[in-house]
Amino acid sequence: MISRFLLQNMDKRGYAFLAIVAAIGILVPLLNLAVPAGSPLHVPTSTMSLWGKYLCYALLAISLDLVWGYCGILSLGHGAFFALGGYAMGMYLMRQIGSRGTYGNPILPDFMVFLNWQELPWYWYGFSSFPFAMLMVLLAPGLLAFIFGWFAFRSRVTGVYLSIITQALTYALLLAFFRNDMGFGGNNGLTDFKDILGFNVQAQATRAALFSMTCVMLIAGFLIARGIVVSKLGKVVIAIRDAESRTRFLGYRVDRFKLFVFTVSACMAGVAGALYVPQVGIINPSEFAPANSIETVIWVAVGGRGTLVGAALGAVVVNYAKTVFTSGFMAPYWLFALGALFVFVTIFMPKGILGTAQQLWEKRRKPAPTATPEPAPAE
């Protein structure tokens, strides 16, 4: 029954996406571990980690597409949920260091010893347990999104206003996490991780496992998001995107639908953050920077808003381009390229890569469709 929920109305594009991610998730770790380093088929560990990072971003992009593409909520604060998930994972990894830190304190992380803290703050309790930390990866962003959304959607803060206060939210968190007194490592964040579930995070095999896990989570995130948008609930959510007041007048509790989608999306972003941290090896407050969240929005816009697959594609394409650009002689021009991408996509490709490709494809199949005027928006 669950599989029916997840796979109903799956289109070719969806199957293709699932197949590709699954193939990458199996093949890349295999090619990394089983093929010897000299072989042309070998995938270096660094490449694998880099692509693991891209796939985490893809999951973040899918979570944002769920709220923006299907519910019309442009969140400029999704980086906050991503970072909160990352911090939850980071706290678990910090506790796993135990007495192997520079100061050798079995309980306190190094930065607390450095700041002369005597005991663990209460909110660090429980993070030595993996299941608890994983629960927090979901709960911390989820709860924040729930409370924030509860207030915002109930008082009908919409459109631009909502975007600006989500930005204020992530900015406030950025300032808060920069403070040493908060107990999250201040400026430097959390780093120097050693073990995850008893395996060395630096080890090749652990990295391969993390990569596979990222693929699994990306598939799960995609299926859940898809399950939501094709369900009856999803139809209402899309109706809210297109004509919020009309949906409300039809008797739907608009705020509750929005709250549900927003919270699910935040949890998904948290999972992406949690997978990102062990692969990158650090989490610091700059992840909360408003610019990061806006960049996430552009991934979705580039790939194609309201397509899920497109969001993931956009995240990978933009980040791959960023890596290529910023590592070569073109480095000073990356911001020009990124800025131009923002302008170009919004003006010339409002539907993104996937939407534009689809349009071209349809045009070729049945040329010059009889002009059916698009219905004017209801409001």
Binding site: V160, Y161, Y171, L175, F336, F342
Partner: protein
Amino acid sequence: MRIVSCLLRMIALATLLALQPGVASAQGADEAFTRLGADSFSDTNRAIELLIVNAHPQAAAIIEALAAGRLLAGAGAVVIKTTDGKILDARTGSALAAEPAGLAPVRLNNGVRRTIQGALGGLGLLNPDPAKRISAAEAVFKSRDVALLPVLEGAIAKETDAKAKAALRQAQAAILVAKSDAPPFDRIAAIDVLRERGDQDALATLRSLPADSSPALKEAQGRAVSAIEGKLALWRAGQNLWYGLSLGSVLLLAAIGLAITFGVMGVINMAHGEMVMLGAYTTFIVQEVIRTRFPGLFDYSLLIAVPLAFMVAGLVGIAIERGVIRFLYGRPLETLLATWGISLILQQAVRTAFGPTNREVGAPNFMSGAVEIGQLAITWNRLWIIVFAGLVFAALLAILKLTPIGLQMRAVTQNRRMASAMGIRTGRVDALTFGLGSGVAGLAGVALSQIDNVSPNLGQSYIIDSFMVVVFGGVGNLWGTLISAMTLGVANKLLEPYAGAVLGKIALLVFIILFIQKRPRGLFALKGRAVEA
């Protein structure tokens, strides 16, 4: 009590007489010279005091020589060795043919050095220049040297300058308060003098009252301390208020252009901060040109930069509107993304052209320095920025309310299609409105170049704050922007002493997030149909 004060007056009179040059007690001076030759620190100390109290005509020269280690003394003779090697008789100042035998420099220790410091202060008290007397009195106020009390009293009686007299009295009071053998009545009067003075130093002096003082004295001191503390707290609040208004005017300058583009046109211009940055860099270029070509014009550099910055930012704004935003009307979220892209491009362009480091923008003469009003320190640049913000606000209001283009802008805001039907070229009005908003941002850049680092990131640091101001104030209402900028500025600065800078800012952000829940359209919301557009 009357008798005591009568007695005091007589003592003062006696000291005054004693201070008249020529009437100096020959005996006291003789004793001083004997003690200088005794080669003991306590004798040297006493000798210095005697020289001062007796106002020996050579006192200044002797003490200065002593401080520099050039005072030689021995049996029966004290001489000053000048820096160019001459030998002078310390008593008369007349030159001696040869250095008397058996003399050695008078030795110093820290105790003697302290006495010398105090004595030089005491000498300053008798300086003919009132300004020097005041600074000497201030020095005595801080050192509280009991030995100088007679000198002070003499100087007070002689003083004609009102300001110098007050300063001398305060110095006397500072000594009396701590002097446990002074008459209680005088000490209470001294506490009153300190209370009048009412600053941090007076507070410190009052707090130094010996613990074994009489209850009446302690009570007077307690009352004076709390009175001063109350007054100081008031001044501090005033200072914070001033800082708040200053921050508010900066926020107003940064946000008011946004209030036009966002409020009037409904365009979210994320590149607004970069317009501010362009204004600041225009100021930098103007100053560079003036420095190299016309150094005499430096004081007018900001005046020249103001119209140029307006034009540069305004033209860039019009270019952005015609080139990009025009295609995105009615899609505010897409506008946000496109203008964010533009902001990245502008930042990188400036970084490429001027380098990533901070650029130096100087302050013209009329904007440097500060003025003190009571305990308030008011810097000229902040004051001018407040004035400038007020002028920009008034000019903008006048343009919107009094000029034809302002009328057209408002018409397009209220009903675009109707305005178009009435023959207003809406496209042109859009471009001009956007240009106006951007130009005002450029003006903000001129002002901010005076108080902030001129770097490619200048705009980034203001964009979020500006949005908060506009959203809090309510869209489409310039007065709302004014009130919200001032409220946020003052609230921020009043919170800072209690919560710290970062927590205060976080608290304000959270407050605005909550406030938007309560009034989703800001403090002063537009009413009517335009709201849902």
